[in-house]
Amino acid sequence: MNVREIAKLANVSIATVSRVINRPEVVLPETREQVLAVMRKVGYSPAPHAGGGAQPKAVGLLVPDAEDYLAIRLMAGIESVAARREHAVYLCSTKGGPDRERQAIAGALEQRMRGLVIYTNTLSAEDAADLQRRRVPFVLVGRSEAAPRHNACYINYEEGGYRMVRHLLELGHQKFLLLCEAGSPNIEARMWEGLCRARRELMTGPGGDRVLHAEGGSIRAGYDAAREVLAGERPDAVFASSDELALGLMKALQENGVGVPGQIAVTGFTDSPVAGVVTPELTTVEQPTHRLGMVAARMLFDLIDDESLLDGTPQEIVLLPKLKVRNSCGNRKPINTLFE
């Protein structure tokens, strides 16, 4: 007998059963009694979690880089849901790479977390399968090799790339340069696919677009990329894979007397807090990372509440990014800063 069956018998939701067990005071007395009566009748008592003793009310979040703005937003989203469940969220940075990731996972399990959210593009299928075998509730964020076979959520970057390029084409830009952090083939490939789809749909044909790799994802890396952007044939628009890269590049272009967006348009892919305060305001693709955190946390608590889901069909939730049109793309219409 598990909570799912109890919920069915008592004609309430699984969440209600879970609240009757964990926070009985917030449940209506008659509902609580109804659930408790079913539990008594079937002789159900909530199973202590594996390992015995009290398990802390905590879940772990593993991210590649804790300094990353998106990781912080993800954390905030997870916390907003976890707080309602009175769970703490512990952050652990893996600094990328499967070995560090494996270590971090092992560390989190030693702390006896009730579940893990793993933000990764690198997790291997074996490592994920190992977690599955150990019956650890976990949710993957991002599109790693393991993602298709487990509960996972991610943002559709292809759609983001498509929307941005379509917008830039509609503004009359012809030649594009994708400025991507070196060693992030995932986002680069998706942005490129989006670019190609936009070109196909607007029937503009190939425009001699190219990809430039920045040495890292920082503002400095964007700044340093300016030299190469300005060497050779100049693009009409540079679409960077993050706001940091775009902001650094914009600064360097302006220092070199290149007008943004007049001579080269620059756009980002984050919607960081500074995007709206720099001059010109940065047009970017908003990544709903806070919402993604809420999604991941909800998927995780679903697994924690109902262990039978660990054997169920893996769920995948995809969120769509949104175009945030400001001015660095060459847009001059005020209302576009509000709506697509």
């Binding site: 969440a15 209600t16 998927m299 949104k322």
Partner: protein, 374 residues
């Protein structure tokens, strides 16, 4: 006498449904709707990431409401706790949900089903949001979103459409293929409150959803159009304020109708008045069931090409010398109505029979009559 009806497989005790909105935003307000007699209540829209409240967000002028905030201020987890506190008393709870992608929407749908929803309303066309731009252009996007929901929950699903899309065969077929049980129409209209001329700025900072009695002709048309295009049940929404309005929607083919912003203007009592008024009218007209009136007025609705081409002219049934009024004379674009020495005159040779003067005359002394053959 109680006039029950089957709506999406739910045995409703009457045809009055409360629309999604702040008047159904938590257990307390939903309970008020139920206690006031609503057969079903639609929750304020439930979303993955709630938006913060800000003020002012409602613009009011002339019994018109314009709301600039997207509904959805309560986290999913809080909705679960709220719904537990509701005593349904034979009424039904319909959860309004919105999401940006099929998988996100389907997740919210599952959670809504789990928290105790009896049915769902998909609210994908909020006029303040550009999140779902794509589905405004591509029926197959609406199909994908809807199918993902109908494929994942067991409860019936209703989709709410904006006025333009509720007249589009491609979209209606997409919803039918996706297996919805009902279609509600219309979504509020995208509007701007007006411009403050002295300060040269809009009265509210962004677009809003325009509702109230002034949009009723648009929603009546949507109901009439839908009822001829689909076998899905129809739920009229938009400008419904009285039981007479509900009867209008029903006679044009709706099975039920939703009271919305009128609750904000008149309070929850309007629900009780509407429920009573509806039953009273049915009884006093000897009706046994709603089946007798649903679609009853549709046969009188003709396509433009088929309307009877009666030639008519306006005429005065008694003399009128009221020069201060002049509504008829000023309003006649054909110069048929003029002031003569003996008062208002109508020249049947010039009158084209549009009927405006007849309806505007405060004394009711103008009538239309069949024109003699030329």
């Amino acid at each position: 006498m109680e006039y029950k009806l089957d709506f999406m497989g739910l045995p409703l005790k009457n045809a009055v449904i409360v629309a999604a909105g702040p008047w159904a935003g938590d257990a307390r307000s939903i309970q008020k709707c139920i206690d006031a007699g609503a057969a079903a209540v639609i929750t304020e829209t439930i979303v993955m990431e709630e938006s913060a409240l800000f003020g002012p967000r409602v613009y009011y002028e002339n019994e018109e409401l314009l709301n600039i905030s997207l509904y959805g201020h309560r986290p999913l987890e809080e909705w679960e706790e709220q719904v537990e506190r509701i005593h349904k008393k034979g009424s039904f709870l319909i959860c309004s949900i919105r999401g940006s992608s099929p998988s996100e929407l389907a997740y919210i749908a599952r959670r809504a089903e789990r928290l105790g929803a009896d049915a769902l309303q998909l609210d994908l066309f909020a006029p303040m949001d550009a999140m779902l731009e794509e589905i405004n252009m591509r029926p197959e996007k609406l199909y994908e979103m809807t199918k993902c929901v109908t494929g994942t929950v067991k409860i019936p699903v209703m989709a709410r459409l904006p006025h333009n899309i509720s007249a589009s065969t491609a979209y209606i077929r997409a919803l039918e293929r996706a297996g919805v049980s009902a279609i509600s129409a219309i979504e509020s209209l995208r509007g701007i409150s007006g411009v403050d001329l002295e300060n040269r700025r809009t009265k509210m900072p962004t677009y809003g959803g325009y509702t109230g009695k002034h949009i009723r002709p648009v929603s009546l048309a949507a109901t009439a159009t839908l009822s001829q295009m689909t076998d899905c049940q129809i739920c009229g929404v938009g400008g419904v304020e009285t039981y007479e309005n509900i009867l209008e929607f029903m006679m044009l083919g709706a099975a039920t109708a939703q009271l919305g912003s009128v609750i904000m203007l008149k309070g929850y009592d309007v629900i009780t008045e509407t429920v009573k008024g509806l039953a009273g009218w049915m009884e006093s007209h000897g009706c046994q069931s709603y089946g007798e009136i649903i679609g009853a007025a549709l046969p009188t609705l003709s396509p433009y090409e088929k309307i009877e081409r009666m030639r008519a002219v306006s005429c005065l049934t008694e003399p009128c010398g009221d020069r201060d009024c002049g509504l008829c004379v000023r309003g006649c674009m054909y110069e048929a109505l003029t002031f003569g020495e003996d008062g208002v005159r109508c020249d049947p040779a010039l009158c084209t029979g549009c009927g405006l003067c007849v309806q505007r005359c405060p004394k009711g002394i103008l009538k239309l009559k069949k024109a003699p053959r030329a």
